[in-house]
């Protein structure tokens, strides 16, 4: 984490923290902001959040590790969350997951060697009417077929190469 990021986070959050009756309520917001800028939350990010909010690092850590969409380890520039809950299961989620693993050459929980994609399972994305579904960064994709997955991966890889936000 570089000094510029810390400056930016401070500039974004210090006014909010001053205006807030219970600054601790901003902890998830802060962790998400650090992740937005850095891709994931390193130890220094936890420590920064603790300093800004007047907490012990452990108080931030026990929050950070609870949520599955706060990444406490390095991830690729695009995190793919592929839904494996019941509606997607009923409409071919296994085939989509196997296709993603084969196409990317990685298993669930791994990152591609070029650092572009991390593949993770997720519970229901609330896209049950468009199953099977996955989310890449904040973009939701439904009605997946292996062909459509290939096109999405190409497009996301291209966008990641251009430095577009996830």
């Amino acid at each position: 984490m570089d000094a510029k990021l810390e400056q930016d986070i401070r500039a974004e959050f210090e006014p909010q923290i001053r205006a807030c009756a219970h600054p601790q309520e901003l902890v998830v917001h802060l962790l998400r902001a650090i992740q937005r800028e850095h891709g994931w939350v390193p130890d220094e990010g936890v420590e920064l959040a603790a300093r800004l909010l007047g907490l012990q690092p452990i108080q931030v850590e026990e929050v950070a590790t609870f949520y599955d969409k706060i990444y406490r380890r390095p991830v690729g520039r695009r995190v793919i969350h592929v839904c494996d809950s019941i509606c997607c299961w009923s409409r071919g989620e296994q085939e989509i997951r196997a296709h993603l693993e084969a196409r990317l050459g990685i298993r669930l929980g791994e990152t591609t060697p070029d650092g572009v994609f991390t593949l993770l399972p997720t519970c229901c994305l609330g896209a049950c009417g468009r199953a099977p579904a996955m989310q890449v960064g904040f973009r939701l994709y439904g009605e997946l077929t292996p062909d459509r997955v290939d096109r999405i991966l190409d497009e996301e890889r291209r966008a990641a190469g251009q430095g577009d936000p996830p």
Binding site: H22, I86, C87, S90, R91, C123, C124, G126
Partner: protein, 424 residues
């Protein structure tokens, strides 16, 4: 078959209703008619009389919940909207908020007025970036137009509304876990009592309500309790219900239908029937934690009372349909795997009991189970239902449905030495 549209009346495909459109189509009239003109207690009474019940899964009568709330107590009190919609098979709140976010803003402002609350939060799950953006914009628009903030509509009533973006995990939908999430502490559920109405957010009186519940409030305020009851097709029920359809149907969309609509109409008319011409085998009537219904239940009216009597629950009314080729053991294993993964680990029945149920169901799927495993499976709910919060109790819904309606299918796995549907 078309039915009156209330919550979806302003919904247009691919669009989000702006403040301008919302006002043109009757928006904020309910707020204008209540604030400063109607006593808060009268509004609470109206909601009680309307028979509105919570749309988030538990179905608790909203007016009754509000009657426990210390509306006249001094000091900060909070209204929290639960939009942590993460029950598999449930996507109605997303559909509603992407279409018409001001409906929630107005519903919350009215509820806040009724409950003497000055601060509210909408708790939005991480993955609902579309909802988050729609709400942030609606809150800003409402603020600019004087429907939120200080001195709403020139009265001395003020209400500030914050939108909180979460970071994942189903357990946050449990209301005390959600309150811990909002406070920024580790969101394990809290012991009850004290209930949130006494000690909730930041230790202050708090009411937590689902999106759809709150969006009904302006309509009840405008048209009255009798009108709201009259929307239901069945006696003792009230209002419409958003049904999110999924699974093996031809049309997997979200529909607003009257409370009490028969399951058969939901499946055959709105869902367009089971896809590929196959037969209906079973469904989850209201999300992942509701016991299965079978083809024998197709004439059951979809409402709170009738689904209780049928041995299931209306839950969130996310209807997931399974065709005749579905292995119900495998489906139940998928559901229990979800609950086991989403367990927060706080209590033993949930943390250790749910993986054990998965282990037993896997043995059936692999042909490693005998009658002993069946007896063990049957013994689990009594133990797991002792869990600290409702997550593990919800997980017992599909397991109990499996044991009640599909015991023969479990036995077939035993006698055939594996899954008769070719799974696992």
């Amino acid at each position: 078959m078309s039915h009156p549209q209330v919550l979806f009346a302003r919904r247009r495909p691919g669009q989000t209703v702006s403040l301008e459109t919302y006002l043109q189509e009757g928006g904020y009239q309910a707020l204008g008619g209540a604030v400063g003109k109607q006593a808060p207690a009268a509004l609470r009474k109206l909601v009680l009389d309307s028979g509105l019940r919570g749309r988030g899964g538990a179905g608790f009568p909203t007016g009754q919940k509000w009657s426990f709330f210390p509306a006249d107590a001094p000091g900060p009190k909070y209204l929290v909207c639960n939009c942590d919609e993460m029950e598999p098979g449930t996507y109605k709140d997303r559909e509603l908020l992407v279409a018409d976010p001001h409906a929630l803003v107005e519903g919350m402002a009215l509820a806040a007025y009724a409950l003497g609350v000055t601060h509210g939060y909408v708790f939005v799950r991480y993955d609902y970036e579309d909802v988050f953006r729609a709400l942030e914009r609606a809150v800003a628009e409402a603020h600019g137009a004087g429907f939120l903030g200080e001195r709403i509509l020139g009265t001395d009533f003020g209400f500030e509304l914050h939108v909180h973006g979460s970071a994942g995990r189903y357990i946050l939908g449990e209301e005390t876990s959600l309150l811990n999430g909002l406070e920024g502490v580790r969101p394990n559920p809290r012991l009850r009592p004290p209930f949130p109405a006494q000690r909730g957010l930041f230790g202050r009186p708090t009411t937590v309500q689902n999106v759809e519940t709150l969006c009904n409030v302006p309509h009840i305020a405008l048209h009255g309790a009798e009108w709201f009851k009259g929307l239901a097709l069945t006696p003792g029920e009230a209002g419409t219900k958003l049904f999110g359809l999924s699974g093996h149907l031809n049309r997997t969309e979200c529909f607003e239908l009257p409370m009490g609509v028969p399951l058969r109409e939901v499946v055959e008319v709105h869902g367009g029937g089971v896809r590929q011409g196959r037969r209906f085998k079973a469904c989850l009537p209201g999300g992942a934690s509701t016991p299965y219904l079978t083809a024998a239940h197709l004439d059951v009216p979809m409402d709170f009372g009738n689904l209780d009597r049928a041995g299931s629950r209306l839950g969130t009314a996310g209807v997931t349909v399974f065709d005749e080729r579905t292995c119900m053991v495998a489906a139940t294993l998928n559901l229990l795997t979800f609950f086991a993964r989403e367990s927060c680990g706080w209590c033993t029945p949930c943390r250790d009991g749910l993986p054990y149920v998965c282990y037993l169901l896997e043995r059936f799927e692999r042909g490693q189970a005998g009658r002993e495993e069946l007896a063990l499976l049957k013994a689990q709910p009594a133990f797991i239902n002792q869990s600290f919060c409702a997550l593990a109790q919800g997980a017992m819904g599909p397991l109990e449905g499996l044991l009640r309606h599909f015991e023969q299918e479990l036995l077939d796995h035993v006698t055939r030495g594996g899954c008769p549907f070719g799974g696992a």
